[in-house]
Subunit: 118 residues, 4 copies
């Protein structure tokens, strides 16, 4: 399995460096937030047309790819530490979202399920 | 494949609601950051001993699982929009990290590769 | 002084509730990040034209004002805990920024000082 | 007035570089989030005892001071752009918080006002 393989590789990477001692749930969640911010930084000051061209620039696309990877790696470490089956969790959450956002009420609308329909 | 299945399910969820119009790279990255913050919120004000007990509380574990899922779902949408193979990106990044953090120099150390070894 | 008055009011608010025990530097910084995310959430899914109209909606302007206030309140608590004179720090940082971004090289440019001038 | 002086200095800094064109509410809020993340990064991987010693290290204290300053500078730009009186907003929010967190119910408790009292 793809995610299981990645998790195995991550555990080896971590244990070869004796880093499990630093990988508390709190530390991993903070680190995931920092990687998410690096992803956000790739959008900083960019106009919509600059954002649209971002993927045409090989070095910027690689930066985007690297930051996405970093978020995934910390997410896998969090899931592994917490005993969460990430794939099952994502399918379950998607089902919850389908209930919160029924098609007939949210078709073409970006409002939140907590916001009144105008 | 696990991630490809999830991405397919996400595309259907999105298109059934005509939401692709909102899913610009910028908007998806902002949303991923907000989900990361909800994960961080689960740690807010908690002592280390409270963090250690978090997984024993079924409703808190479900909240953690849901927030992890939300991060993954936005990450998959970003990767799908940007044409990034997330699994390959993660393996590539792990290799880069192995070069930046050689075992002999970083064994048992939490400093960054940009920080001098004391 | 304005900020000193606010800091005094905050200290009274905190001590009346016996909350100093929770106000470690780490916890305050995490909380400031969560408030910053709530500010970011006010921009989520909004088009540029919706952002431009945000200030015309009294309840949204109040939400923006409240989130800005929350960021300031945590910032003052951090500064108070760390013994930082926030006003002096801001003036000092503005001087550093003026050196990093000389007018003749960065006029009308949004690139970072670490990025090459094209 | 302290904050008004800083805002004046910021306007001059911005206008000397012709940067007002980049200072949309959305961009300023994203930038504030990135600065908040840099503050969070100062806590990354640090144990509680390392956090306690952070202020004894002059270069780390300066980094903390600089990041606090950056958050304040963006906050002032947001307030200036949105026509918010930051000081008045902070006093108003502190009053709201005092109502949400009455002393008798929240003395010595770190739970949120939305959480039940155990």
């Amino acid at each position: 399995m793809a995610l299981e393989d990645l998790t195995q590789a991550l555990r080896q990477f971590r244990d070869a460096r004796n880093w499990a001692q630093f990988h508390t749930l709190r530390n991993l969640i903070v680190s995931l937030n920092l990687e998410a911010a690096e992803l956000l930084e790739l959008t900083q000051w960019k106009s919509d047309s600059e954002m649209a061209k971002l993927l045409d620039d090989a070095s910027k696309k690689e930066a985007l790819s690297d930051e996405c990877a970093d978020v995934l790696l910390y997410l896998l470490l969090i899931a592994d530490t917490a005993g969460i089956d990430l794939e099952a969790a994502a399918h379950a959450k998607l089902s919850k979202n389908a209930e919160k956002y029924p098609v007939d009420k949210f078709y073409g609308s970006s409002r939140k399920y907590t916001e009144a329909n105008d």
